[in-house]
């Protein structure tokens, strides 16, 4: 602004002319942060000096304060008295579902495996294995999982209501239709296989639940960084259930059980763990998701579902990881 101002130095080292040079527009952008006390001390000092001299900006600062005072009229409501009781009841019923009524749980859990496998064909088989291990992300070639390996459809799908299986088959068919061009041939064939297995019923296996529990145990150990123990548990699954469809999961989980120092490896591992966990930790939820697919399609339409599936797509996850490794800040 005025160049002729005396260059007397204020105690923070800013001369008056420097302060005046700060454009009003720039100051005004900083006013909220200034009022919040979020500016670094030198910058805060120059803003307050500017305010001392500029009526327009001072008025703007007063306006910010006024807005915040207005915001202060919001009154929180207490949660309703039954909040905790309801929460407790939900927890209890879930625990009972898992712990006590296992006879009811097993068929549902088994059905969920069909869902898990179906999802893994799409999200893991189709993308993770294909894209990740072809070197898209920074992953060592010698990763424990063989390149190109994919999760195989379960052969053991029985003891579920016929209506559910029809819905599943229909859901899978629609997945194939909508993701057709995105799926690799192998994944597409595997989806077919899941459908066939569902339609035929197939032979049952009592080991599913036991393997699932072992997998979860291994995950727990991995979280505690007890990699050797975790590998032991996973090897145990492989040796005691050769050929079981879930053994593939055990093999993939081993990827998490090896501490490796590659840039982004930790992030990659935790993302993968998340992916696994979302499919395995709560089979009932997953079962609901997959069986409600046809209904959701009717309700929301394919486009929005594909869009949200796209968000879950590990490729996006890897883009995210890559951008994080490269230091860009981006939200998923």
């Amino acid at each position: 602004m005025e160049k002729s101002l005396p260059s007397a130095r204020a105690k923070d080292g800013f001369s008056e002319s420097e302060v005046m040079k700060m454009k009003c527009k720039r100051v005004q952008k900083l006013l909220t942060a200034f009022v919040d006390g979020e500016l670094a001390p030198p910058r805060a000092a120059s803003v307050s000096e500017h305010l001392a001299m500029c009526d327009v900006c001072r008025e703007q600062a007063a306006e910010v304060k006024k807005v915040l005072a207005w915001a202060g009229t919001w009154r929180d409501r207490e949660p309703s008295p039954g909040f905790v009781t309801r929460l407790r009841a939900r927890i209890r019923s879930e625990r009972e579902a898992i712990g006590l009524s296992r006879k009811v749980w097993i068929p549902r859990a088994r059905l969920a495996f069909a869902g898990v496998a179906a999802a893994s064909v799409i999200f893991v088989g189709g993308y993770l294995v294909g894209a990740l291990f072809s070197g898209r992300a920074a992953v060592p070639r010698g990763a424990p999982l063989a390149r190109g390996a994919a999760v195989v459809a379960p052969k053991s799908v029985t003891a579920y209501p016929v209506a559910d299986s029809r819905r599943l088959i229909a859901g899978l068919q629609r997945i194939k239709m909508s993701l057709g061009s995105k799926l690799s041939d192998a994944s597409f064939n595997e989806l077919n296989e899941v459908q066939r297995a569902l339609a035929a019923g197939g032979d049952s296996s009592v080991n599913d639940l036991a393997i699932l529990e072992e997998l979860q145990r291994a995950e727990g150990l991995i979280r505690q960084k007890k990699f050797a123990l975790a590998r032991g548990v996973l090897d145990g699954i492989e040796t005691s259930h050769p050929g079981h469809p879930l053994v593939e999961y055990a093999q993939m989980t081993k990827m998490l059980a090896s501490p490796q120092a590659v840039p982004g490896w930790g992030l990659l591992k935790s993302s993968y763990a998340m992916l696994l966990q979302d499919t395995l930790v709560n089979p009932a939820e997953f079962y609901n998701d997959i069986t409600s697919l046809p209904a959701q399609i009717t309700e929301y339409g394919w486009q929005s579902i594909v869009k949200s599936a796209d968000k879950l797509n590990p490729l996006n996850l890897f883009d995210y990881i890559e951008s994080r490794i490269l230091g860009r800040s981006e939200t998923l």
Binding site: K29, L30, L31, T32, A33, D36, E38, A62, E63, V64, K65, K66, V67, L68, A69, W70, A71, T73, W74, R75, D76, R77, E78, P79, S80, F83, V84, R86, L87, R90, I91, E94, G220, R223, Q277, V281, N282, E299, Y300, G301, S304, S308, S329, E330, T331, L332
Partner: protein, 202 residues
């Protein structure tokens, strides 16, 4: 456990650790500490108290189910807010895909409250109570009309008293981005405030 007067309160993270080790009591303590905060936070995002309570419940269920994924050394509050934010996002995604959803103006609920109750608050006089109520209603409306990202940043900063840096960590963006979103929110609220005929703020 932590009720003894005069003793330093147990940290959230310590409670979480006890909970992971099997103490249901520790979980109850965490619920007691956070139920109000999380419900209010979600309420300010979704602007429907019943939905907010549901989402808060889902949030605590997720804390319960996924307790083992809580990483030692991290802050519990950051973790639970992250979970709640994700549930809010899911809620909005679901809502968006429903056809013809009308924005919820929840001020009705307060209106259902007996006038006496409102007046009885904090022993304010009837006139103050009425003008406060009016201002509050307009405020809810104005906050509801903020773009979602701005609303999130504004409410986290003002009501949940997080610093820009904490918010940035939570949302995965820089403090600078937080600052500009909050400022944009303040500007929008200011334009609404000028229409409110109450002059006593500031």
């Amino acid at each position: 456990m932590c009720g003894d007067a005069g003793r330093a309160p147990v940290a959230d993270e310590e409670l979480m650790e006890q909970f992971v080790e099997g103490s249901e009591e520790a979980f109850d303590d965490l619920v007691a500490r956070y139920a109000g905060r999380i419900t209010s936070f979600v309420h300010r995002q979704v602007l429907d108290f019943a939905v907010a309570e549901e989402i808060a419940q889902d949030t605590f269920m997720a804390v319960y189910r996924k307790r083992e994924t809580f990483k030692a050394g991290h802050k519990f509050s950051g973790w639970i807010y992250k979970i709640a934010i994700n549930f809010c996002r899911m809620h909005f995604r679901k809502k968006r895909s429903q056809v013809g959803v009308v924005p919820i103006h929840e001020t009705r609920e307060e209106e259902g409250k007996a006038l006496e109750d409102v007046l009885a608050d904090d022993g304010e006089g009837p006139r103050e109570a009425l003008s406060r109520r009016e201002a509050e209603e307009k405020l809810r409306q104005a906050i509801a009309e903020l773009p979602r990202k701005q609303r999130l940043v504004f409410t986290l900063s003002f009501y949940d008293e997080m610093t820009y840096e904490e918010i940035g960590r939570l949302l995965g963006c820089s403090p600078g981005t937080v600052a500009s979103r909050k400022h944009a929110a303040v500007k929008k609220l200011a334009s609404k405030l000028s229409k409110v005929t109450l002059g006593e703020f500031g």
